[in-house]
Symmetry: C2
Subunit: 437 residues, 2 copies
């Protein structure tokens, strides 16, 4: 069979490279660029093999990338071979991954525009709000049932970890399926942006309650103010000025100016979003929404659209993010029974809570299941909440708000909601069999 | 004037971003991705402005990028403002720059092929050899004249710093001028590869002489063996297997596979080159030579050539390398008079020594001046030699082989040979006025 030949040859090459690995992990002597190169070789290779296998069984490529990452990241656990463990700790590769997710959200934003997003703005807001309130309540009460006798700060924190949607996976699946420019896609993406703002507020409120027993309204309003000023300011000023700046950049013509102008804009808004406390990908998405293909018409390089020029960069960087997301998964986490129970309950309420989101979407013929599924993956934000909860102590004691077992349960919930999103979202978008026969 | 409007608007935006800089340089509190983003914004912005201004006065864009880098890297010296000093130390941005130069040499290699390079192989070898021998002798004797009464190890080291050509600048200028696929271009690029192998040998010989007073022939032959096996092995196996692997990869079709296969190949050879002690860019160049457009014909994405797909990545990453090269320049170095004298002498002999290279090129109608100029820029390799010379001591004493002043002189020589290459190379390629009137 021809396919096995491919794998054999490529495996030989990679095997050759692997042999020359620093198996003792002597970071000091290893040249940093050399470690980045071998890391990229491993990541890109398994990303494409994983993506290919996933597509062969009818799944979005991103699922294959995640699972390939989980396998490679946990090789040491099963085989004892620690040659690729450096992938977990290599900060340079992490930065490349973060640039990858910024580029992905920028690319996704480019396929949409501000007008279409505002049209579904009310639905997005409702979806986001429901998707925060219900998971929080479900998380609060279910953890109260599971972990009896703890102070309420514990339940509040667990509830909070269930609120934040991680838009990376959903955006990628929507892209893999070609569903970004659907009303469902727009509602999900808009809701994810609002969700990020709500997440900031929740974090401030929850830590305020735990540390000082009270919510600082001035702090919370400052946070809201910054985020709202950024979003409205970026979109308002961007829509007015971006075309003008690009028009002027066209006259300052130099090789690559079209792409670099676009990247500058994406990086600038990502940076500013980060500065006001939002996720950098929210800024990148906003940058993509603001820039429209039409603004690039005057550039000399117009045989390519701006989307064409971003695609190679995203083909290179985006898989790094998803493989690394898999690599970060610690399978060791899945070993204590009570942790597994807690995690399963959290996963179920996390799913149900976000499924209710779909009800917030207003309009006819909307696929509300898809919207709920799109809001489902939790990600880094949930983990950030949990990590903060580990550092905070229950008032008057030395016990952390989120103990080790609870943290593991949250991690498992994040993994499960992330892994089941790609296939479910795909099936939810399949054309239905005639409902009215 | 319209152009000022552009600058004003973009400066306003960047100014806004700059304001939110961590001016005290508190690295700890700053989010790494945030620092990388603002670094990329500054670098890409000044790269394009510098490149544009350079082209307006008829110079290759790379010169503008270098000078823009020097200006931004030395702002603190002139203005006292240290807001962009982090660019000098940010390792993540350095990695992006190194990936940039790897991509550039890969791209340059893609425009050529192994057959054409081998045709000029003899010329390349002679050019490389002459370009090592003469600069070494000139460096040895001129430093003997300038710095009298030192042990010969000092002169040997100074001679060695003059031998290595830095191909990055030349490759970029050849690309800016569209002169890669000329015989001169091929000879220069081939010679630069051989030069890198010679550089390894010289380093081993020179440090052997200084540390143990003798050359370890077994060590030197091991170094040569590794480098030669890599180059011949990569090219031989690559030419045979690359088309087959790509043919098979076409069947394993998935979004982005064509680009990622090419990148995997480039990264793999860069990594292996690094492992045998060669510069990673030599591996990237070899990878580019081996891959030919023809091998990519069967991919579904063939509306784009592989060159088209690499270009956006290089537009993004390559300027980072050259701006950062400028940022690393310390203008403080130019202050002691005797250092300046030494550096000027070294620069002059560095230029003359490499100019003789052109004589090694065999064939009619070759622009030998261009070949000599193409070999002129010294770069990181010269600095590496000098840095090793600073750590080694003159046998029987505590005095470093390369003292502080000599090191500064070498740095200035590197800067000057680098900065004058782009304009001179450009002029040398201009069509000559009728020589026989």
């Amino acid at each position: 069979m021809k396919f096995w030949k491919i794998f054999l040859i490529i495996l030989l090459i990679v095997g050759f490279a692997l042999f020359s690995f620093p198996s003792q992990g002597n970071k000091e002597t290893e040249n940093p660029i050399s470690q980045v190169l071998i890391g990229l070789i491993v990541i890109l290779f398994i990303a494409k093999v994983g993506g290919y296998l996933a597509e062969r069984i009818g799944q979005p490529a991103v699922l294959g990338e995640l699972i390939a990452g989980i396998i490679i990241g946990n090789l040491a656990l099963f085989t004892g071979w620690e040659g690729v463990n450096f992938l977990r700790f290599n900060e340079h590769i992490e930065i490349l991954a973060e640039l990858g997710i910024i580029i992905l959200l920028f690319e996704v934003g480019l396929r949409e525009n501000v007008r279409n997003m505002l049209k579904v703005g009310f639905s997005s807001s409702l979806v986001a709000l429901i998707g925060v309130v219900f998971p929080f309540l479900f998380g609060y009460f279910s953890s109260q049932l599971m972990l009896t006798g703890k102070p309420s700060s514990v339940y509040i924190f667990i509830g909070a970890t269930l609120t934040a949607t991680s838009v990376g996976i959903t955006a990628r699946v929507l892209q893999d399926l070609g569903k970004i420019s659907t009303n469902e896609g727009r509602i999900i993406l808009g809701a994810a942006v609002i969700d990020d703002v709500l997440g900031l507020i929740i974090l401030a409120v929850v830590t305020g309650i735990v540390t000082s027993g009270a919510v600082s309204f001035s702090e919370v309003s400052y946070i809201i103010l910054k985020a709202v000023i950024f979003l409205i300011g970026a979109i308002f000023l961007g829509v007015i000025f971006a075309p003008k700046i690009l028009k002027l950049a066209q006259r300052l013509w130099i090789e690559g100016i079209m792409l670099v102008s676009a990247l500058l804009f994406a990086f600038l808004l990502s940076y500013l979003a980060n500065k006001v406390g939002l996720a950098s990908i929210v800024g990148a998405f906003a940058a993509g929404l603001i820039l429209e293909e039409a603004h690039f018409k005057g550039f000399k390089e117009t045989t390519y659209t701006i989307g064409d020029m971003i695609r190679p960069i995203s083909s290179f960087l985006v898989p790094i993010f998803f493989v690394l997301m898999g690599v970060q998964v610690r399978i060791e986490t899945f070993k204590e029974l009570h942790v597994i129970w807690l995690s399963l309950v959290l996963t179920v309420v996390a799913i149900i809570g976000k499924q209710l989101c779909g009800l917030g979407a207003i309009g006819k013929n909307l696929n509300r299941i898809s919207i709920g599924l799109g809001m489902m993956p939790r990600g880094e934000v949930g983990l950030i909440f949990a990590a903060i909860g580990r550092k905070l102590t229950i008032p008057g004691t030395n016990i952390p708000v989120i103990d080790h077992g609870t943290y593991s349960a949250v991690v498992i919930m994040v993994i499960l909601t992330t892994l089941i999103t790609p296939p479910l979202l795909k099936y939810s978008f399949l054309p239905k069999k005639a409902t009215k026969p």
